[in-house]
Symmetry: C2
Subunit: 336 residues, 2 copies
Amino acid sequence: MIVDALQCSHFDREIFERLRAGGVTCVTATLGFWEDTLESLDAIGRYRDLVRENEDLVLIATTADDIREAAATDRTAIVLGYQNSCALAGRIRYAELFADLGVRVIQLTYNTQNEVGGSCYEPEDSGLTRYGRELVRELNRVGILVDLSHVGERTSREAIEASEKPVAFTHANPSALAPHARNKSDELLRALAERGGMIGLAVYRNISGDYADSPDRWCEMVAHAVEVCGIDHVGIGTDLSEKGTAADIEWMRRGRWTRTAGYGANMSADQPLKAPPLEWFENNADFPLIAEALERKGFGTAEIEAIMGGNWVRLYGEVFPPAGRRATELSAAGQP
Amino acid sequence: MIVDALQCSHFDREIFERLRAGGVTCVTATLGFWEDTLESLDAIGRYRDLVRENEDLVLIATTADDIREAAATDRTAIVLGYQNSCALAGRIRYAELFADLGVRVIQLTYNTQNEVGGSCYEPEDSGLTRYGRELVRELNRVGILVDLSHVGERTSREAIEASEKPVAFTHANPSALAPHARNKSDELLRALAERGGMIGLAVYRNISGDYADSPDRWCEMVAHAVEVCGIDHVGIGTDLSEKGTAADIEWMRRGRWTRTAGYGANMSADQPLKAPPLEWFENNADFPLIAEALERKGFGTAEIEAIMGGNWVRLYGEVFPPAGRRATELSAAGQP
């Protein structure tokens, strides 16, 4: 099974077909970055309709069993996630409501500090706030994975310690190899893994440095992460943006909080757009190249299976609620 | 089984205990009148917590089977409803999301015209709008009962015709006996019943006229409704507001749409508050008085059971989704 723990792609039937071509069993879709509650609910509605219209290719997964069902029926399981906690509007009770609607991944902060804690781009990281501690406990309770990819180092460390369930950097790289504000120190990776958490390595050019050059170079990051975290704690989180537009990048970079700043993984003013995809990893059909490179790197079959997807399915099984129903089935029972 | 199809009470443990004293198996709670989406979600969160804290007395019902389970375990089933469709923010996809969160009753309009249609207090009733027709179809699909109690006559007639599932006046009286803008003509009641719908008669003083004077007088309204609609189409919808405050009435009357008007069932300026409860029906312990009066009126045992609650349970079974989970259970699966 191939699992991609984070994409920003504009999913449509064409991409769903490419996911099948790449043999991808599960992908977490980003339903929002800065969107408010209503816009975030809108996104759930859109994804439900999109999945219903393409149910020969995809399903919405709310449990690890749903992912196994996707594998068994040759489809791709879509996990619903947000790259920010602002959909919750600071309301602790909304975590349960969004969980009921099928959301399974929430990143505590995107690129700016919020009421939960500090972002990796803030000059000063407040650490996990009191509301942040309440929220981590509630996300644990309702079965939503805490994502710390864009979260500041101190807030991440405190969230790892506060969480009773494993947490994740769904899309980040080791800063020991690829120094970048978005990437994670070996110390942090060790703390994550000690509490059962996982990192998903990204093929996003801006946070990959020279390791973007080839599948074999990229797999050096995998090898490093495995050395630091252990084989059970490493997976893939491409951060792929198939069919992303300039307007999307503008929205990611600026949201509604600035007229000028261009923060994000690419912080220089002369590079306004997201970097182009890697030459060897252009789209969702390219996952097999990673498995091949891992084999050349000397990983065994079981290790490759764990890294390519098995680890994420295990983690999801530990974090997601055991007895969910797929989101598109929830209310469709009465439909003729 | 006793079923009350509409209350505005401020439910708490004391009222839950009174519901048990009155033998009430099911009551629809009003979670909002003018509240926007976020406030409406807040209300769901509050009710979930309230029900979890009192699960020895109540449960949230999303299916007719849940109501039967409440009866079997000597508890009261709470059905979640709104007296307006504004929680949906004009978004057709939200109907499914709110259904997933456990909402089972939505009134198309409260006391003013909205994007769905006309209210009973508007001088001109637009009829059911194009969005209104879409919404009725979607509420049918997702298993939410269409409530027309405060809806204008023309919009009500068109909604009855448009709906593929039975609809309801959950809390209203026959205008042939108690003339009032809120009450329903025999013609409309006949149309409702012909499509399988139901009326719940209210013990609310302002729309009951002289029939408020005693249980026996009040049951004359029941007898009239049965004569017009047939025995299968009449039930109770008290409109009771236990622990309601002056601020609640102000909110119901004015919402955010007026600084001055005092519209609502009590439209005169010298009566700013909701009328006091009937002398013979003060609170949720008084339901048995209705059953006794129905017997004096000559109704048989099966007829009394139908009116007191059996009809609503049948209707809910026809309208609610067959395979729901109780709202408080939806995400609590992962809870230790």
